[in-house]
Structures are given as structure tokens and as C-alpha cells.
Symmetry: C2
Subunit: 150 residues, 2 copies
DNA sequence: CATAAGGCAACTATTTTACTAGGGTATGGT
DNA sequence: ACCATACCCTAGTAAAATAGTTGCCTTATG
């Protein structure tokens, strides 16, 4: 049930972009440096987010990445779905699945459906804006909080 | 964020045991046959569940596995924690973690905490009894529902 | 004492994860 | 023009996790 490091790094990069939303593109070295992750790795994740229309890029010197929409309009669900492939705990309850979705009647299915609903609630209702706001607040109060986590 | 097949098979085996609770031990071949999984594989899972005190065994002919407590007293959380190792979506919000738990202040942490709380709510509040009851009900109404899922 | 059943360890194949390497392309400043 | 900065893209790879299989041992029942 673990979230991949892809998702953790990618999500945090998006929050970083949200904090800086409106002040021009942010470069990969900047984003990578903030989290202590290699540029090459983070770039892959950002490319997925670009393919999914969540971030946009500006090439050349002074270029970088920026969000395509105001962070308040961006759900965590959308970001994680791009990074993780799907946020489903089992394939047969994912929105994309069409094979098992109606056919499967296994004994654990009621649990899986309930669990997935609760998860989707959180992921859909939480916006990147909220996380960015919380983080800015934390930085203001905190004694030099670091954005590095295992 | 996927649940392992370990968890899916193991959980379904426990539900099977719940359906038959009180009528003596159920043999491995019976349990394995029901789900179309190999005996060798399912045995590993049941051994974990035994180590965790969820099932008990009777050796020798006419032996098998049975739940150690009434299914109404058994939460899904307990079963999945044994099978999955932990039900935490990220290490730093797991109950077992002591290193990052207070130190970590990363920007995504508020989300992870909220998500984990919702997940724990479902897993702790759902009993194996409920799932067993649902399944029995489904079998009564359904047109030969199969308990096999990918 | 044969047969049915659980106990256990070790091995293996596959897939996923988490990266790294290296070359290509576009842009801005001097 | 040219060079530094920065995104674009593909491929490769090492390690870990996952999903099993095999084989042998021990324990009880009839």
C-alpha cells in the first residue's frame, strides 16, 4: 500500500511550484536542490506531469517549469494519478478498469470499494493550494523546517 | 498504492474461515481450491497469520486452520498489517515509525496524515464478520458468484 | 503404518522501483 | 556568433520486492 518515491518527490515538486506560482518558471536545478534528489530523476517525473497537462515548460536560459493552472484548481488526485499511474488499491476498483469492474464478486470487494471511496475523497478534495498554504505557514512558524523526507 | 496479492489472497482466506467459524478446522487444500491459488503459496500467508495470532492450526488428518477469535472481534486492519507488514502509505506516518514521526516536516505531510487517518478508519472499523456476512448474502442472491479475482 | 494434514526453508523467476548516463534541442545574454 | 543555461528524450542498470515453486520434515487419525 506504499506510495512510490516517484509520487512523493513529484508531489512535493508540484507544491514547490505552487508556492512560487505567478513568479515565472522555476528551473530543474532549483527544484531538485530543494529536495535533495537528482535532476535526472526529477526531470522524468516532471515530464510525466507535463504530458498530463499539470505543468508547462519554458526552454532555454531563464526557463523552467510552472503550473498550468492556479493551485486552487489542482487536486492531489490529478497529480498522483499521473505519477503513480493509478491511485487504485486493487485493479478491479479503479476507474480505468472495465474487465473486472462489474464481473468481480469476490468476498473482499465490498471492503475494497469502501476503502477506495474514502481514499478518493481525500485525494480529490485536497488541493495543491491547501498544501502550499500549510507549508508556507509552517515555514513562517517553524525553526527552519526542512523539506527533506525519506 | 496497490495492495499485494499476498493481502488479497490472505484476506479472502480469513473471510472463508469466518464463514465456517465454529465448525472445526478447514484444510489448506479446501482453502486454496476455493480461490484457485497454490497450496504452497497460501500456506506461507496462513503461517504469517498464525504467527500473528489470528489463526490457529490443528495438525494431522482432519486438521486445518481456524480463527482464534469470533470474526466480529477481528478487524481488517489486524489481518492486513500481518500480511502487508504495515498499512502505512508512507513510512513516516506509520504507527511503528519513531525516527521521522515527529521530525519530518515535509510539505506533503499534512496530506499523508489525513489520508492515513481515513484509511485506518476504514480498516479498523470494518470487521471480518461484516465481510463474511456480505459474502454469504451475495451467494444467496447471486447467480453462482465466484470468489476468484485477479 | 499408511495417509492426510500442517511446518519450514530455500531457491527462482519476474516485475517494479529507483535511479544513472549521455546525447539532443532551444533560448538568452554578451 | 557563441556559449552557458535549461528542457527533451532514450536507454540501460542495479537492487529490491513480489509471487511464486520445490522438497523434505513432523504430527495425528483410522
Amino acid at each position: 500500500m506504499k506510495l512510490s518515491t516517484r509520487s512523493r518527490y513529484g508531489l512535493k515538486a508540484v507544491i514547490d511550484l505552487a508556492v512560487r506560482y505567478g513568479s515565472g518558471p522555476v528551473s530543474l536545478p532549483t527544484l531538485a536542490g530543494e529536495q535533495g534528489v537528482s535532476e535526472g530523476y526529477l526531470e522524468q517525473l516532471l515530464r510525466e506531469l507535463k504530458k498530463g497537462g499539470v505543468v508547462d515548460t519554458v526552454r532555454g536560459a531563464q526557463g523552467g517549469y510552472e503550473l498550468t493552472c492556479p493551485p486552487v484548481e489542482l487536486s492531489v488526485q490529478r497529480v498522483l494519478t499521473l505519477l503513480e499511474g493509478s491511485t487504485a488499491v486493487v485493479d478491479c476498483v479503479s476507474a480505468e478498469d472495465h474487465a473486472c469492474n462489474s464481473a468481480c464478486t469476490c468476498s473482499a470487494r465490498p471492503l475494497f470499494l469502501k476503502l477506495q471511496n474514502r481514499i478518493n475523497d481525500v485525494l480529490e478534495q485536497t488541493t495543491i493550494q491547501e498544501l502550499a498554504d500549510d507549508y508556507v505557514e509552517q515555514l513562517k512558524n517553524g525553526k527552519g523546517a526542512r523539506n527533506v523526507c525519506r
